[in-house]
């Protein structure tokens, strides 16, 4: 039953009851206070959905009570005349008291309803809030889990990398205390990880390098650089558990998170590479010596044998020529021309022999050879050539003097071909450390990088190798427009055993 229908039914019941009561009221005599029952109608009215219903019904009741008093048949005899009035007044009072109650109740109900509604709204709001918070929490947790997984993945990857890396990877904190020591490091240094964790990096360095290494790391820690390749030129050395040292290639990087700085050092044993390099170098040296030797042999063969025999032929012919009797003048002239041609051949052979190997180097020594070279160069090119050199006499080993001679020869050839110089200065000096050769020209210079890229090389590579074959250092400075300077430093004989070394750094 719908609330609408219920309402109508309620109104119907009330109408019927009111009509019945009114009829009863006007038909019964005064002593029966049947009008009091209007209160029942008001009570029923309180069941209505409408708050005004009890007051309307009360009004109707009040009016009908008054009308009932007027239309009523005369009072029962013996009854006090004020009594029916009093009854009716009572009824009306009751009616309105009920209305008041009903109104009060309705008010209370409304208040309750409002309170209820408010509460509900609040609950809803709260629930909403909670849901939001919950969602936030869920997403946060998801995110956290994802991060965690990513972290685990990255950790795993890192661990994997650390494990399979051939290189030694060592992490140390700002106090140079080792905090990570990978398998590569274990293999390289021979320590177990737990033996070195918490120890100082010094453990892994030969004693003589410790101070410098620590200074180096401090400088690096303060510097703006985040990664640094150590020992690009010089060697770094590590110390194994068994006390052996090894040459290494190292790079270092630093990571600063908040207050903490950590260093990651990656180290590779380059003993084998060094060995290979040494072998290569010694092979190159041997090759050069062999080449030089062979050239010397061919040169000697040409100069001292073929050429001597040619010269002798000339001598013999001269002797024959003088023995030719005067009448055979034509024959004598033939002899002379033959002798001249032989002499020319002899000159050519001598020149070829000289190109193979300058015998002057063996016969008169480096000083004379260089002087001859410079004079010939100056004469052929018109370039002023100044030679300042110490006379080493016989003291210089053949390989070193050959090397110096060839370097000068090659440099002068470069000057002639490329430099457009007006002046060349050549200095050869010696002290306890080095034999120093410096060749400087006033020419146009060149871009070293470009020459390197072009692979024209200017014979620079072979010059360098030649110098290295006698344990020397080769250095070239050239800039467009600034001339070229070649510097060769060779340790004097007997001093080439020492090696240039340096600590981590």
């Amino acid at each position: 039953m719908s609330p609408e229908e219920k309402e109508w039914r309620l109104i119907g019941v009330m109408l019927l009851l009111t009509v019945v009561l009114f009829v009863v009221d006007i038909t019964t005599s005064h002593g029966f206070a049947s009008h009091v029952l209007y209160t029942a109608v008001v009570l029923i009215a309180t069941a209505s959905r409408h708050a005004w219903m009890p007051s309307v019904v009360a009004w109707i009741g009040t009016v009908l009570t008054v009308i009932g008093m007027i239309m009523r048949s005369p009072a029962m005899p013996g009854l006090q005349p004020w009594m029916p009035f009093g009854n009716r007044a009572f009824t009306i009072t009751m009616l309105w008291i009920l209305v008041w109650f009903a109104w009060k109740r309705r008010e209370a109900e409304t208040a309750l309803q409002t309170a209820n509604d408010n509460l509900e709204a609040k609950v809803l709001e709260r629930t909403h809030d909670l849901t939001a918070v919950n969602q936030a929490l869920v997403s946060e947790i998801t995110e956290r889990m994802q991060t965690e997984r990513a972290y685990q993945r990255s950790e795993g990857r890192l661990a994997g990398v650390l494990d399979i890396a051939e290189d030694a990877i060592i992490v140390a904190d700002i106090n140079r205390t080792i905090t990570l020591f990978n398998q590569g490091a274990v293999r390289l240094f021979g320590y177990d990880a737990d033996e070195v964790l918490g120890q100082s990096l010094d453990l892994l360095l030969p004693e003589r390098f410790r101070g410098e290494a620590s200074r180096h790391i401090e400088t690096f820690a303060r510097g703006p650089e985040t990664a640094h390749r150590m020992a690009q030129r010089r060697e770094v050395f590590g110390l194994k558990r068994d006390g052996t040292e090894f040459p290494a290639e190292a790079s270092i990087s630093k990571l600063t998170v908040g207050e903490d700085t950590t260093f990651t050092i990656i180290l590779r044993d380059i003993t084998e590479r060094r060995q290979a390099e040494r072998q290569l170098r010694s092979l190159t040296a041997q090759l050069m010596t062999a080449q030089e030797e062979e050239r010397r042999r061919i040169s000697r063969e040409l100069h001292d044998d073929i050429n001597q025999r040619l010269a002798l032929l000339v001598v013999e012919m001269g002797r024959l020529e003088t023995n030719v009797p005067d009448p055979f003048d034509a024959a004598r002239q033939d002899f002379q021309s033959l002798a001249q041609r032989l002499a020319a051949i002899s000159d050519d052979v001598r020149r070829i022999a000289y190109q193979f190997h300058p015998s002057i180097l063996d016969d008169l020594g480096l000083s004379a050879a260089l002087e001859q070279l410079a004079n010939a160069f100056s004469e052929n090119t018109g370039i002023k050539t100044i030679v300042v050199q110490e006379d080493f006499g016989e003291s210089l080993p053949q390989d070193i003097s050959s090397c110096l001679y060839r370097i000068v020869q090659e440099s002068l050839a470069n000057v002639r071909k490329h430099a457009k110089a007006s002046r060349v200065e050549l200095e050869l000096t010696c002290d306890d450390q080095d034999i120093t050769l410096c060749i400087r020209d006033s020419g146009v210079g060149f871009d070293l990088e470009r020459v390197r890229i072009d692979h024209r090389g200017l014979g620079l590579v072979s010059m360098r190798e030649r110098v290295q074959s006698v344990h020397g250092r080769f250095e070239i400075q050239a800039e467009p427009g600034q001339g070229t300077r070649i510097l060769v430093q060779i340790p004097p004989p007997g001093a080439h055993d020492e090696q240039t070394t340096s600590p981590v750094g």
Binding site: L312, N375, E379, V388, T429, C430, D432, R440
Partner: protein, 214 residues
Amino acid sequence: MNKPRVLLADDHTLVLDGFQKLLETHCELVGTAEDGRAVVEAAERLKPDLVLLDIAMPRLNGIEAARKLKKQHPDMKVIFVTMHADAPYIKAAFKAGASGYLLKRSAGQELIQAIQVVMKGEFYLTPLITKGVISGFLDPTQIHVPAVEDLTARQREILQLVAEGYSAKEIASQLKTSHRTVEFHKAKIMEQLHLHSTTDLVKFAMAHGLVTGL
């Protein structure tokens, strides 16, 4: 005039044979040697008037051999008969004490003449050797005035510092080189400029504007 007593040194038997034939009418050949040490020993033993030497010889080259011979027997004459026509060889030969120098290929015409000239106490140099070579022997001071241009950049630096009163040690540390190298350069500069003292160096530097007075 007596035939000069000649010792012949060459590592080529063919050459020895050939020269023997050339010499036999005018000289008395007292012996032959095939290397530098042998010739020094033979000269000691045979006391020849004259030694004919080749430059390229095993064990001890001709230049060294000549130096030893002249040291032990200053009167003994030495003539080089060789393949080398280059100035440094000729310079080295005469510096070592030789009195004559000729080329093998002209020995047929010149050897006897050379021996005669040298035995008279004069010098002989083969005409085959070019004029350019001879000019090389000339004392450079006669045709060349020493100048700043003949110094290398490094030498000029050192000369300037010397003139400014720095010691060799201070110069060495300034130029990042060794004390010895600085001393060498200083000596070499004096030699090149024909100067004899540090005072001369200072004067030269001032005269050439390398330093503006003290």
